[in-house]
Symmetry: C2
Subunit: 314 residues, 2 copies
């Protein structure tokens, strides 16, 4: 099961970090983008090729110290067909490097339309009896607002193809409460959603006690995250909001059990654009941007370990 | 403003119908798909080219009688890069034929990530100062579960590029109530969402009194649709669920005002795969599938008009 594989990588690396591959053209060093602009002009094609190359350098520097990456499809979809080619190539290269890939797609649709998304991302697309793997993510993120009709079509493919989901429960953004925190039957909506997520995942629990159906729970709302942790003992969390968005390791520590398991913490900008941050820009030149990313990933690992009992440094 | 253009097309054609371009390979007649399979094998490329050709035939038969089409991106994303090329080409061809295009993408993400989706679908993608229109939809659908952070980035592009949104409020699927109908402060969540949608759209109201920010309200929950109609007098509705999903013209009639305005009613399968339905298959051969779609579109128009006061046949 893919959740077991993710957990085994986390245990082996003693690192519950996910690197968000959300590249922007502004992050890409000149020595990469100038080459493509020379060849293709200032076009979406040049932008997309720059993003892929940027990712490739970063993957080469982090694949041995982090268990997984999370490309955010919007950053590629922005550049249309060329961008989506870069998304696919990033996934393929990350998987070839041994990384587990979470496609941050947050799709939401129902019934046969949900099935079409499942076919394209975690299942197989059927062309007159021949089956194709399309975007090839290991996990994808989904939005639950449409209810079970928008999630259950994916569960069969999770089972058949050893794939997993992370369903939005409580997101990291400032206005997440507008809908997610509304109170119903004496509890917030995100609690109701967490009950649904537990139910959806109840038949897909792996050998470490966690389900293939995980939850997205932001690091920026630590009290709520702690509540949700108690409500969902068998659910693995994907935790956005660490670092640039303000989430702290101290706040996240309650999401982990005695074995250091329970969550994978994402950082995007803080790692992939580390060379632009004050903390690293004196030590790394633009040409060494990927080495700055490696340094930032190691710093994040140490920061998290500082707060997770089993890995605490003596 | 694009909502005004949509309304003017509806008034001119006396038809509030949207044709859902949600093609599947099973719908595509042999004379189309065999040609592509011969050339490209049973591949995603052949599938995608078949879907585009299928759409093209249908667009040629309906562009003069319906104001708009709604391609469902999942049906194209299923076939990856090739599929998304077919999505883009479908949009381009529909617009060239004078149709207004609603991209049914139901995206949901926050802040700069939402901006990336906006750039790719309704705004412009910037490559070192040069701006590109990417997927070129006139309207797109969005999911509100993440709150204002997931919608406001699109509003600026709506204004700047004359584009519109339809935000999910109450969807047509059987389990839509699991989250959307939960009661908070004595009212259902979809009512809270309708208040947010009205607020988001309040500064983008066109000359007919409707906002560029519309709402998705399913035809399959007529009582709730009627309530929502009263709560949102300035919001245009995109209404899925007519026909194949069970929604009836009688139920939808309350969504229209005295001028016959207020909603655009979608039908997908019922029109694009009409030639496979009992009602049309004796009259139209597979080769005339697009003419069957035209007949079904005319029947739908007449069915809706039967129930909308201003256009009632004498």
């Amino acid at each position: 099961m893919i959740i077991d594989k993710l957990i085994e990588k986390i245990k082996c690396m003693e690192n519950p970090t996910c690197v968000g591959l959300d590249p922007r053209i502004e992050y890409v060093p000149s020595f990469i983008k100038e080459r493509y602009i020379e060849k293709y002009g200032k076009t979406p094609q040049a932008a997309a090729k720059s993003l892929y190359k940027f990712n490739k350098y970063i993957i080469d520097e982090i694949y041995d110290i982090v268990p997984c990456v999370k490309p955010q499809i919007a950053m590629y979809e922005r550049f249309g067909i060329h961008g989506l080619k870069a998304y696919l190539k990033t996934i393929e290269y990350a998987k070839k490097s041994g990384l587990i890939v979470i496609g941050d797609i947050k799709r939401s649709d129902i019934a046969s339309t949900a099935q079409a998304y499942s076919d394209g991302h975690i299942g197989r697309a059927d062309v007159e009896g021949i089956k194709y793997e399309i975007f090839k993510e290991d996990f994808i993120t989904l939005n639950p607002y449409l209810g079970s009709d928008s999630i259950t079509p994916f569960l069969k493919d999770c089972k058949e193809y050893e794939k997993g989901l992370f369903v939005l429960v409580k997101t990291s953004n400032p206005n997440s409460g507008e809908i997610q925190d509304l109170i119903t039957d004496g509890k917030p909506i995100y609690e109701k959603v967490s009950e649904l997520v537990s139910k959806w995942g109840s038949e897909l629990i792996g050998k470490y006690g966690f389900s293939e159906v995980g939850a997205v729970v932001g690091a920026t709302h630590p009290k709520q995250a702690e509540e949700i942790r108690k409500l969902m003992p068998n659910t693995f969390f994907l935790v956005p909001g660490y670092g640039a968005q303000g989430g702290k390791a101290e706040d996240i520590s309650v999401l982990f059990n005695e074995e250091g398991l329970g969550a994978i913490v994402n950082s995007s900008r803080g790692i992939i654009a580390a060379y632009m941050n004050d903390a690293y820009k004196n030590k790394f030149s633009e040409n060494d941007f990927a080495k700055a990313s490696r340094a930032a990933a190691i710093d994040m690992k140490n920061d998290l370990r500082r707060c997770i009992n089993i890995w605490k440094k003596q």
